[in-house]
Amino acid sequence: MSDLRILVSCGTGIATSTLAADKLKRLLKSRGLSVTTASCKAAEVAGKVSTFRPHAIVSTTQVAVKVPIKVFNGLPLISGVGAEQLADEIAAYLKTLSAS
């Protein structure tokens, strides 16, 4: 699948989400996946799901709303603790989507 979209959210949709999105793109690229990301505030996730139609959501804060998209905890992308493992999980998940 060429057009994989990941929504990255944090408190303001600016600081940690941008850092997390940068890191995620690099880690997924090294796993052979090219993704498009969009950042948003945690409070805007529900709205962004309908407009951006992400294949997965990565959030550095809790996502309070229920959305029909898989949500990954993005903190490892900021702290580095478990970042490679998270990238593996997201890559594996995205590959299951493109296989179906």
Binding site: G11, T12, L19, T61, L75, S79, G80, V81
Partner: protein, 167 residues
């Protein structure tokens, strides 16, 4: 120790950095008030900064676990900021901050880094440099053990080098 002021330059962007070292504060509120007073005095934030940073931390806490230690990254919305800055506060005693990903948990933090920003993009590189350096094995332990303004300034400069090498 008196507040330390320095400037860091990364990819052509210069960021004033204020270091508050061995700060004896007993609560987050006291810490935020202290940072607010220093920034206000330098004309870097509006009077609304204090309420802004407190409210933001309540809504979206910033305690971040790096494995062997945790660091708080108290954010604030752009509207409270006049001039961008990065505040590095080392507390004499660790304080509990709620975890960024789960407000029900707390992390004890001795180091708090305040990104005081007026826009995203270029200014974010400094926050990225900090989180990047904190991931380097041994960096945190070395940093918090520093004793003199000269050592602290030199270490912060070297931190940018880590970021450049990683990027």
């Amino acid at each position: 120790m008196e507040p330390i002021e320095l400037e860091l330059t990364l990819s052509g962007v210069t960021m004033p950095v204020l270091v508050l070292w061995d700060l004896a504060v007993k609560s987050k509120e006291e810490l935020f008030a202290c940072v607010h007073a220093e920034l206000l005095q330098r004309g870097q934030v509006r009077p609304s900064y204090l309420e802004g940073v407190l409210e933001r931390e309540r809504q979206y806490p910033t305690g971040l676990d790096f494995g062997d230690f945790a660091v708080a990254l108290p954010h604030v919305d752009f509207e409270h900021v006049i001039q961008p800055a990065l505040v590095v506060a080392l507390l004499s005693e660790a304080l509990p901050f709620q975890a960024m990903d789960d407000p029900a948990r707390q992390h004890l933090c001795r180091l708090a880094i305040f990104p005081v920003l007026t826009s995203g993009d270029a200014q974010l590189a400094f926050l990225q440099a900090v989180t990047c350096a904190l991931q380097e094995p041994g960096f945190y332990e070395h940093f918090v053990a520093l004793q003199t303004p000269q050592e602290i300034k030199a270490c912060l400069q070297s931190m940018l080098q880590i970021a450049v090498n990683e990027g």
